[in-house]
């Protein structure tokens, strides 16, 4: 399981440029015996036909991650860039990135501390002042390696450490993708449609199109969600806590959970003694925002794995939470057969 997570998180897939992740998912989904296809937006659709009813349950996890796009090359061969999706500017300085299809290595630079005025040292450096340095000394040389519009992605490997924890980039939402791949191994009474969406981080664009053409009867979104259970954050703003199990959302900024699905999800966790938590703050949105509003409406709920330091190259997750999310989802889907 960690091997799958490692492959998925180390693949590069900034929103709009999900090819590398898509290739891995196509391969792994096909191994489960699912019928696999790619739609016009680039969403991967993996379908396990139901044994009895024609009901369609759509599971969604997004393949894309936050990152950067190259917007200008300076005369000295440095790359100016913009962020793709929500990234805290304080994270950027001296980070390693990989650029374009070839994965050209680069580092994010700014003038050294020695050259900064006193007040500059106390400020967050604006992304506009930063460059990606790819180790060349002219525009011509840089142009041989990089084109405008190339994507850059954090360069970070998955590491298992501490007490059953992993550190990786893009746990939001490759962890959701990994959960879906696991769920695809089973077959249910109803059609299970696992949808690996594109462009969630820039406005749930893939999810909207997928929900439209899939016309599901029910939607469940699997996410990696923020977890701020660290010192200096007051308890009521932790959102989730690491190690306390999957987080079930009653509401976020993009949707209010279908009350019945929310109740059933909580009930399933309780009945099977699977640890779970409710999100203790309301922040962020996800593909549920577009799925629940598709056509004449789709009952939808969100289940998330808590991830600390989300949207950074070193996000962190508890493998127990990951495993409990899979357990909860399996029991919930089995329960759906009788409803």
């Amino acid at each position: 399981m960690v091997e799958v997570l490692k492959r998925l998180t180390e693949a590069r897939g900034v929103a709009g440029n999900e090819d590398e992740v898509r290739e891995i998912i196509l391969e792994l989904a096909a191994q489960t015996g699912a019928e696999v296809s790619v739609d016009r937006m680039g969403n991967v659709i993996a379908r396990k036909p139901g044994l009895k009813t024609g009901k369609k349950v759509m599971l969604a996890a997004h393949m894309d991650e936050v990152g950067f796009i190259i917007s200008y090359i300076t005369d000295s061969g440095m790359l100016k860039f913009h962020t793709v999706g929500g990234i805290d500017q304080r994270l950027l300085l001296s980070k390693r990135v990989r650029i374009g299809k070839k994965g050209i290595p680069g580092v994010m630079g700014v003038k050294a501390i020695h050259l900064q005025e006193k007040d500059e040292r106390n400020k967050v450096i604006d992304q506009k002042q930063m460059v990606i340095d790819i180790g060349v000394h002219s525009k011509e040389e840089a142009q041989k390696l990089v084109e405008l519009g190339d994507y850059a992605c954090f360069d970070s490997n998955l590491v298992v450490f501490g007490d059953n924890k992993v550190k990786a980039k893009a746990l939001d939402d490759r962890v959701g993708c990994a959960v879906l791949l696991e769920l695809l191994k089973d077959t249910y009474d109803f059609d299970l449609i696992a949808c690996f969406t594109v462009q969630e981080e820039i406005g749930s664009r893939g999810g909207e199109v997928a929900a439209w053409h899939l016309k599901p009867d029910m939607g469940i979104v699997l996410e990696g969600t923020a977890c701020a259970d660290i010192p200096d954050v007051p308890e009521h703003m932790h959102i989730t806590k690491m190690g306390r199990g999957p987080a079930i959302s009653y509401m976020d900024r993009s949707s209010i959970a279908d009350p019945e699905l929310f109740r059933q999800m909580v009930k399933t966790a309780r009945e099977h003694s699977i640890p779970y938590q409710l999100k203790e703050n309301i922040a962020g949105g996800n593909d549920a925002g577009v799925i629940h509003k598709s056509r004449s409406g789709v009952p939808t709920v969100v289940v998330s794995v808590p991830c600390r330091y989300i949207h950074s190259p070193s996000s962190m997750m508890d493998l127990n939470d990951f495993n409990n999310t899979i357990r909860l989802m399996k029991e919930f889907l089995k329960g759906c057969e009788s409803r």
């Binding site: 929310f262 203790e280 409406g297």
Partner: protein
Amino acid sequence: MKELLANLTGVYGPSGKEDSIRSAIEKEIKDHVDEIRTDTMGNLIAVKKSTLSGDKPPVRVMTAAHMDQIGLIITNIDENGFLRFSNIGGVSPFNVINRRVVFENGITGTVSYETELENMKDLKLNKMYIDIGAANREEAEKQVSIGDVAVYYAPMAAAGNRYFGCAMDDRAGCAVLVQAIKTIKDSPNELIFVFTVQEEVGLRGAKTSAYSVNPAMAISLDVTLTGDTPKSRPMAVRLGAGPAVKIKDSSLICHPRVKNLMIDRAEEAGIPYQLEVLEAGGTDSGSIHLSREGVPSGVISIPCRYIHSAREMVDKNDLENAVKLLNSILENEIVL
């Protein structure tokens, strides 16, 4: 109208928890419509059939008013029994200080804030809490749970022709729509009345109901701001000067033919009206006009002071004239 409005503003119904208000409205209108149903998201959809016979299909007109109101959703319960909350819809910290609020099960509480705060400008909802009088977490958890939502506890009051209360946004629109359903004469048009959910969190119910209704034209009814109080931001809408025909807000530019239809009917029937340009804010027509291949849409707005507070204020004549205007539009043949 007064009794209807007092009744509707007193029913619990924040976005996502519209069951009680939907039942209350359903009870009011069910004997006056040909069909009534509730859709997946919880929108209440009522139909009055066209009187036209023959081959020509009637014009299907959707009118919408949102049932939901803003609220405070519990996100955390601390060891001393205080409830932390987040907003459902546009909740200003200043509007809720020391206000009484009520949960669906009738439990009430007072909203207050961390008083070590030095500058009130820094007041944010995450520095506030609801006190339900519980001594500790256990006692609080017996009464409320994370995810429960409180709304203002503020029974309606009247002063002359003016009504004060919470949730005028948009129970005033609901009351106008209910009254129109009860009083409208036969119509050549197919009339679909939709009481929508989740407007306050992003015009969500309107989106899915517009898709299933598939109308040829749409009108929504909602409250709008006024510019008639001391040193208010300039806006040419006054309380009591009649329903406002919306030109635009940040969710839509009203379709010129729908806007002109409203003005023509108001002029013909001698109904006072005013024109409205709202600089911020949106309403259900913002979702509806983008449904499928586009729906010509407009809005009849009800002037309202102190929107999203516990003391929103509307005028009786504006409400009654809104009913007249809506009926005169819906009862007559519509040529788009």
